[in-house]
């Protein structure tokens, strides 16, 4: 059963090898990608079921017991994110069949895509900090490749910005690991929890905490480190920006949640003091950025930033409901944001541009597309009964529950701006008549069907999460409870006896 932990990582990696070997046989490699995504989702669902039934699952890779060997571990959050990764991956994989052109495909899109998924799942499922770094890198290099794949001027420029800034982030991650390792002598996150909680917070530990916040924060695109995202996400192929928008920043958020609830669980004052202003500023500056954009993917990109702020509320408030809100928001946003980027791709196919000035008339030309846009757009804007509403409600509830009127106020005002942005897109691309000098085109019917199938799939998912918010919330609640109980996590991974031996009294107990 512990092998369930490795499949979501290994399947895409092996699939990537096969897809690369398939080379120019496009159908074959697309088939591989889709099959792998289905299998990956299947194993992730099995993993989630197992964790739901039996609690945290872990695997001592190489049969070396943690903290000596690397542990893969899945609590509910990890497992559910693996499932969402699979679903989003599947949707984007189907979309890519049409969206990814001949050139990009020949340059190895399929393999890069699968490696990206492997990296994302690896990041979600590892229980070791250095191993997390490795999966981050897997993800990063695949994303580097994907963002530049078309080699258009925009893509190259975007890729350069993306690369330079992410390079700094990734190296700072490594630096943080070094400082933490130098202070504690271990890399297993559960063990780090025990050691850091039992020791005093030395300067190196604090510095490493702050650096991890910087590194993951940059990945997650928080204020003031978000600029790489709006600089790059509007440039690559739509399938690429969709998977980026859905997953990559969320891995940063996941890492923040994991690290600051587990390793630095004792530094709660620091965490709150750090993440409150970051969360607020991220929400505000992200949404202000979106308000003044006139390109669909730029708008959506800035909204990613803004909504990352919502997800940080879990760390800004550190209450169970705030954590629940964060987890729920995380899950909701992956699906919705990926979907909006997919829709943007279809809009581009109709209007040959994503600049709002050049779009228009879509409500007449493609009424079903209008519906498919409205579902994720309204969900993002937090309109009930879609998933985004519950996410927003949870955030508000968490803030008010904590007596934090300011955060609630910011969240709500930002929510209004989000509505504004979504309706701006709607007004311009759908309602407005197509510009006379526009570059309208009629996409091929078959490709439209292929493109819209995954969009509809994700839209249905959003609606289901919205209408069936009860079970989704229960999942988020249980995930958040696990996040806020780091000692149970430690016991599950290191074993009861190990944890007892390292309980606060026995500072320097011997290892078994």
């Amino acid at each position: 059963m512990t092998w369930l932990l490795i499949w979501p990582i290994l399947l895409p990696l092996v699939g990537a090898v096969l897809a690369a070997l398939a080379g120019k046989r496009r159908r074959l490699s697309q088939g591989i990608v889709i099959v792998v995504c289905v299998l990956m989702t299947g194993t992730a669902v099995a993993l989630l079921a197992s964790v739901w039934e039996h609690g945290i699952l872990s695997m001592a890779v190489g049969n070396w017991a943690p903290p000596f060997g690397i542990a893969l571990a899945a609590d509910l959050l990890s497992a559910v994110l693996a499932v969402i990764t699979g679903l989003t991956g599947l949707a984007v994989a189907i979309y890519a069949v049409v969206d990814i052109d001949r050139l990009r495909a020949a340059r190895g899109y399929d393999a890069l895509f699968l490696v990206l998924l492997a990296g994302v799942n690896g990041a979600f499922l590892t229980g070791d900090l250095f191993n997390l770094y490795v999966w981050f890198e897997v993800m990063l290099i695949a994303s580097f490749g994907m963002v530049a794949l078309g080699r258009s001027r925009e893509e190259l420029d975007g890729a350069l910005r993306y690369l330079a800034l992410n390079m700094v982030a990734t190296l700072m991650f490594l630096l943080a690991i070094a400082l933490l390792f130098g202070s504690t002598g271990t890399l297993n996150m559960a063990h780090l929890h025990l050691v850091v909680a039992n020791g005093e917070a030395t300067g190196a530990v604090v510095a490493s905490a702050l650096l991890l916040a910087v590194a993951f924060g940059m990945k997650a695109a928080v204020f003031p480190l978000f600029f790489w995202l709006p600089a790059a996400y509007h440039t690559p192929a739509f399938a690429v920006s969709a998977i980026f928008a859905g997953l990559l920043t969320k891995v940063g958020v996941y890492a923040l949640l994991r690290v600051f609830t587990l390793i630095f669980s004792a530094q709660d004052d620091l965490v709150e003091a750090l993440f409150w202003p970051v969360a607020a500023a991220t929400m505000v500056f992200g949404v202000l950025g979106a308000a003044c954009q006139a390109e669909i993917r730029r708008i959506l990109s800035f909204h990613i930033v803004s909504q990352i702020g919502y997800m940080l509320i879990g760390l800004a408030l550190l209450t169970p409901i705030a954590m629940t809100a964060a987890v729920f928001y995380l899950i909701h946003h992956i699906v919705v944001k990926a979907n909006l980027f997919l829709v943007a791709g279809v809009i581009h196919r109709y209007c040959r541009t994503n600049d709002l000035a050049g779009t228009g008339g879509l409500v007449k030309r493609a009424p079903w597309l209008a519906v498919l846009f409205l579902v994720p757009a309204l969900s993002l804007a937090g309109i009930p009964p879609l998933s985004g509403f519950w996410a927003k409600l949870l955030v508000v509830q968490a803030s008010l529950d904590a007596g934090d009127l300011a955060m609630a106020g910011i969240a709500l005002v930002v929510g209004l701006f989000t509505i504004f942005s979504m309706m701006k897109i709607w007004n311009e691309a759908f309602w407005k008549a197509a510009p006379a000098d526009g570059t309208a085109a009629q996409p091929n019917r078959r490709s439209l069907q292929t493109l819209c199938f995954p969009i509809a799939m994700l839209a249905v998912l959003t609606i289901c999460v919205g209408l069936g918010a009860g079970p989704a919330l229960e999942l988020a609640e249980r995930s958040s409870a696990q996040l806020l109980d780091p000692s149970a996590y430690a016991s599950a991974i290191l074993g009861e006896t190990f944890v007892l031996a390292h309980a606060p009294e026995t500072v320097a107990g011997d290892l078994p």
Partner: protein, 757 residues
Amino acid sequence: MTVGVEQIGRPTLRDPWVLGALGIALATFVFALGQIPAVAAGAYPSLSWSWVAGLGVEFAFRLDGLALLFVLLIAGIGVLVLAYAGAYASAVAKGRRLCLLLAAFMVAMLGLVAADDLITLFVFWEATTVISYLLIGFDHEQAKARRSALQGLLITGAGGLAMLAGFVLLGITAETFRISELPAALAGTDMGSLTLPLCLILAGCFTKSAQVPFHLWLPNAMAAPTPVSAYLHSATMVKAGIYLLARLHPTFGAHEIWFPVLTTVGAATALWASIQALRQSDLKLMLAHTTVMALGTLTMFLGSSAPVAIAAAVTFILVHALYKATLFLAVGVIDTHTGTRDRGVLAGLRASLPVTAVAVFAGAFSMAGFPPFLGFIGKELKYEGALAIAQEPGLVVAAAVLANAMMVAVAMVVSLRTFLGERPGSLPARVPPRLMVAAPLALGVLGLLFGLLPSIVGNPLVQPAVTSVLGEPATIKLALWHGINVPLMLSIVTVALGVAIYWGLDRITAGLDSIGATLGWNGDRIYDVVLAATLSGAGRVTALLQHGRLPLYVAVTFVVVGASLIAGAVMDDAAVWALVEIEPIEPWEIGSLILLVVGAGLAVVGRRRLTALSGLAAIGVGTTLVFLMHGAVDVAVTQFMVEALIVILVAAVIPKIPPFEAVRSTRPVRLLRAGVAAFVGLGVTLALLRLAPPVDRKITAFYEATSVPEAFGRNIVNVILVDFRALDTFGEVAVVVIAALAAFALLRGRRNSRGLS
């Protein structure tokens, strides 16, 4: 029918979608009628499903008197409006879309009024906001329609968000979202703690019900097709706020700010709207402003807890719904008929639109409060209620009289001016579809019927509704004749005043216009200015953050990194220098450090690419030396090989890249960069000094102990790489392979990428 006729509009009533929508409306109406006895008897039907248990949210509905009154209004007027809309639309597809949106809106509105859970209510509340956005922007190719739709959405959406916060706060305090349980749940609560939720909820109500200063979206919403205006602005959407005020009356009625706020805002809205109404030349806009006026009046009365005042409000809800829908629909007919809604142009339509004339007169008389229309009863009740209001009867009475006088004037404009007098010859005369004509007539007749027989609505509808609003049983009797009393006197004054205003209308309008012109701004302009300022402010802020200059992005990142490191180092209690132990250092260590330092310097100051690359190479050699001297053989080998490979690759590539001379930053910029660099470098040094050896080596000890006996390898580092931590290596290999494939894809063309096998 006298002038050249031209049939316009194609009834889309045969469309199954439209018929379905109509069916739903009709079925709901009939169902609601069937519930009247039970509700009047106090047996409220209710339904609930658990929805989001974790938040205590239930999908709960309850049909009390207030809800039932609204359900009947919504469904009943819904039937007529849907039929009218079906006839109004010029094309089947458009008609279907319109009817479906109207039906969706109706369903949302029904859910809203029937909901017994704050969150459920909010769900429907937001649904009405979104659907009304789509309805206002129905003619979406016109920029004005889009703007109005967005304005309505933003204003009501903002209020909705505030309201959500209010609901959540209320839910937290009451520990339930069940509306019917709120009064009991909050029984012992300090009212002061409810001030904030109350204010937030009022923001929602006021925006939705277009109270001053949030009123400006409503007249603009007249960009919508006439059926939409009729539906949204008579029975439904704008009444949602009024409904919620009434609904929460039992919860908040006793709060100390409830009365002053509602009374003041309501009165201000009523007055402001009446003045605005007089300025309009478009009949539809004029009616829209009287809607705002009516809403203000309703708000004003709901501020009170006097049963008569509440009865006045409830009755007026019914009165207003009937006459306003009548008039809007009739104006739609006039518009269709003549192609204009300008009151300066329209006159003498009685001959060409006789049926509509009847409907309009019925509606207008009800509006003006002439007996024997229901409006008269409503007006009398208002005056009675105003007099009964304990705290501020003077203000309320004055406001009510003034507002009603305006209504009289507007009613005369709509009816007398439009239908009497000489018809201008230039007016076209297209024959409107029969169904369009029938709908307002039906509503107008109802106004008359209820006025004549008030008991039809009094006991079964108004009284249960008042009971629900007050939260306690109330006895209300509606009657046309109450004898000669103060309200009747006030009515006479009202009519006189109204007639006077009507006579002086043109002068008043001119005067108001000149005042408006002097002031130079109005709510709409404020909205524009605020929106533009927000957007340009957002643009400016964003231009500061997202400036597009990569070096500056990187610099900011490094500043944050440096700050993190220094903050960490500073937070430690121990002094940094206390940790500094200068150990004896060997000559070759000094050599390696010099290599590092000099190489670094060269990399910075090198003016040629090769010079900088040489610096890089020197750093590589220095690093290799450091590794070598500290027992890291494998690392040293790897470091050197990688460094050499990097040098080779860079040396191969850079001749193709423009030289450094082409790109040089200015001296201040260089200084700034140097500052950032020094900052982050200092941070790293401080953090490193904070690392106090010896590091815990338990894990390494495990590797050392098991490497040979269990992992069969004598090179511990390699055993870690391929066994203890092989997963890292696995990922690492994946990185390298993918980096290669990606770089390959970046550099080389498809022509050379045949299948691999």
